[in-house]
């Protein structure tokens, strides 16, 4: 068949276009109430109190995880990263559950139970094993029911299992983040230390090297930060470390929700600034720890201050990650709707969730025309503008960091760890003070 023999194909009539078949959002009136589900009238109030108490407890534990004792804090803060990832996973799932018909057939907790003993939970625990009965009676890996010895071992792990899980997930998340951010941070650290050392010794011949490394470091950092927050959300949602390095998919998500991503960067930058100001309060001679009569009293005073700081900044850290998760879940649905990623190529965990939630996302075909072209052009220009703003935001983030470091220098660790991005460790007690000395 030659070109001239090709049949003329006309655009289809609009009424035959396929449409995205969302599960119909049930009207509020249609959502069965607790009474309809056969629950006691006071059960809802009890649930609320339990939930409130549960979150308050988690908040307090999280704050202590982010600041307790020297060296230990770094490990417990990594566990806080893992716990936060589990919260983000729950948030992503819950956001999709809200759109699902499954809402009318049970609670979110019941839905999570149906995903199996290793599925997300509505309120991730810090220490205790989730779903105790399900864990005790879970079949052995090789098949068959667990014997008494196996059951005993499982029960022995209950008090600390979630702590271990949080730590493992946090370690993987931290490792993946440092795989991308480690090099820029090291470049900036090296440039600062060696650059000033060179300046102190009058090494004019190599004067260019320190600043060049510094500029390289922060350009790499800015480039990495276009990617890292969304990658962290993807890893959190899927619970798998390798998801962090799904570059193509993560970049599609970033491009799908540029405005949300920009707002996330703004929030991260703003709260990092707040943290810097709070941390740099020690520069004042009138700061309570500085003004205390002895080093021991100064240490206690400073520790109290840092605990309060942790109580304030830990929930901020969690909320920022949740914000990232919300942007992430919206971006996933958008790329599915736009046909950029077929459902079949979606991450297995996400695909499984959508399947269980009975959410079927069908790509919408768009008619090519002047409106479509105008939309594409505007989107391209808008995206360019947003990505430029992102560059400036992360540049300001770095400037904020350097200015804060000039006022209160913390040799080495401050360059390698940005608490709002990496490990939320708020242990800023100087080494000499920990040992009971003034200097």
């Amino acid at each position: 068949m030659t070109d001239s023999e090709l049949p003329e194909v006309l655009p289809a009539a609009p009424e035959v276009y396929p449409v995205a078949r969302w599960a119909e959002k049930p009207l509020l009136a249609e959502v069965p109430t607790g009474l309809a589900l056969g629950r006691h009238p006071l059960a809802g109030a009890a649930d609320f109190c339990l939930a409130l108490g549960g979150w308050i407890w988690r908040w307090l534990v999280g704050a202590v995880m982010c600041f307790n004792a020297f060296v230990l804090t770094w490990f417990t803060a990594i566990a806080a990263v893992g716990w936060t990832n589990r919260v983000v996973q729950m948030i992503v799932l819950r956001s999709w559950w809200w759109r699902s018909a499954r809402r009318s057939r049970g609670t979110f907790a019941q839905f999570c139970e149906s995903l199996g003993p290793d599925g997300p939970v509505p309120r991730p625990r810090w220490f205790w094993q989730e779903r105790l009965i399900a864990d005790a009676s879970r079949p052995r890996p090789g098949g068959g029911q667990p014997g008494p010895f196996t059951t005993l071992l499982r029960i022995a792990s209950w008090p600390w299992y979630s702590l271990w899980l949080n730590f493992v997930l946090g370690f993987k998340a931290t490792f993946c983040t440092y795989a991308i951010l480690g090099l820029p941070c090291l470049c900036m650290l090296w440039s600062w230390e060696q650059g000033w050392l060179n300046s102190f010794n009058g090494g004019y011949e190599q004067a260019w090297f320190g600043p060049t490394m510094g500029i390289t470091g922060f350009l790499l950092f800015i480039a990495a930060m276009y990617y890292v927050p969304m990658a962290q959300a993807h890893q959190a949602a899927t619970g798998q470390a390798r998801a962090f390095f799904d570059f193509h998919f993560v970049w599609l998500l970033v491009r799908a929700r540029p405005t949300g991503y920009l707002l996330l960067a703004l929030a991260l930058g703003f709260w990092s600034l707040v943290l810097t100001i709070a941390r740099n309060a020690v520069i004042a001679p009138s700061f309570s720890g500085n003004g205390a009569a002895t080093a021991a009293e100064g240490l206690v005073s400073f520790q109290n201050y840092l605990l309060l700081l942790s109580l304030g900044m830990f929930p901020v850290y969690v909320i920022l990650r949740i914000f990232g998760g919300l942007v992430y879940q919206s971006a996933v649905l958008k790329v599915l709707r736009g046909g950029e990623v077929p459902v079949a190529e979606l991450h297995p965990v996400l695909r499984h969730w959508l399947d269980r939630l009975e959410i079927s996302v069908v790509p919408v075909a768009q008619a090519a025309g002047i409106t479509w072209y105008a939309r594409i052009s505007a989107r391209y220009t808008y995206r360019k503008a947003v990505f430029t703003l992102l560059f400036l935001l992360w540049f300001a983030f770095i400037v904020r960091y350097y200015v804060g470091y000039f006022f209160v220098a913390e040799p080495y660790t401050a360059f390698l760890n940005h608490p709002m991005l990496q490990i939320p460790c708020f242990d800023f007690v100087p080494h000499h003070l920990r040992q009971g000395h003034d200097f």
Binding site: W192, E193, W196, L197, S199, F200, N201, G202, Y204, E205, V282, I283, A284, P285, S286, F287, G289, N290, A295, G298, F302, Y405, F406, F407, V408, A409, E410, P411, F428, V429, P430, H431, H432, L433, D438, F439
Partner: protein, 426 residues
Amino acid sequence: MSTPIDRRRFLFQSTALGAAAAGLSISADDPNRPVDNEPNDPEEPLPQRRQPTYPDRSPRVILIRFGGGVRRLETILDPERTYCPFIYHELFKRHGVLFPNMEIESAPGIETSHGQGTLYVMTGRYAEYADVERRPLSDRFIPIVPTVFEYFRRAYKVPAHQALIINGEDRINEDFYTFSNCRPYGINYRSTVLSLFRYKQFLLRDELQRDRASGGSLLSAHERTEKERKLREMEQKDYRSEGRQIITPEIDDFWRSWRSYYGTSGLVNPRKDRLLTALALRVLRDLRPKLLMINYQDPDYVHWGNPNFYTRAISIIDEGVREIFSAVQADEEYRNNTVFLVVPDCGRDSNRCMPVPFQHHFSGSPSAHEIFAVAAGPGVTGLVRGGLRIERHSTHQQTSMVATIGKIMGFATPHAQGPVLEEIFA
């Protein structure tokens, strides 16, 4: 036959002189008001005064600004932990007097910083200093009362090249703290500054002069224009003298000697505070200053966060003082005839909750006001021998240095605030 004094003229001049003296004495109590804003015209011939020459056997003074801001803790407080063992164990213990409780007054407008501290030391008076154009973070100051060099050079016939300040390469503005705007002192009695900045000016000037002398054959037109522009730029940094430099044959010869030894690249000579020591040693040998001030500075590098910069820089200054002391003792003119005065420009913070407690030196920090002084004149007649530590209930002030130098060298310091450090005199 003498001219009879006209009574009216005498009364008029006396009244004017009295009014001027009254004005000076009133303003001397007000640290915020400059005494006189009109600079002396350097072209105007100096009034005919009988200036005695400075006697050969009168003491020379080397004033060491232990600069960049240092705490007592790392210097004089603990003999076993001092980072300046020579200054502590030799200069103080064997030859001199230690004032461990010297301070910078805590009052509004008095800043614990380098430019201001240097001027408090040089003028003997606390004052609130602001940049000449109110530019933020800039320290282009004008001494509000005469500096110790002006007092000295007005009292004695001392050539410009023998009242010297050796300045570092990082604080160019301090090259211009050399004179006040106060009559009858001022620009004609200013000190001479030697620094890397001045050396670079000399190189450019010398090259252009040699090019002119050769009829323009040494430099291309482009090179000539470039060097002239660079020289102009450097001269414009001088916000005081409007380009009027002290260019004396002795200073030029000094720089020629320096050039023949170290070349012009700037990469062969010692660097940072070691450069000041090298300049001081050469100056003592070639220019024979009677009053010399050395502005060490590198402890201030700790602002950038590495505590080793601070302690290492203190040790470098100590090494430099040791070398200068050895050179002085090996020189017949200076041996047993030189007084060393060591004083910091300011202290440093002591914020225990900071990883580097002494990173800065804010004026609100009590520790930044706490300094010390060491005075040592080995073999100098009339000075206390070594090892005297002055502990007293009331503190000494940084502004005492000028009056003390005046007493040592025998000149008046009418506008200096601080009392003489009498304890150093036997």
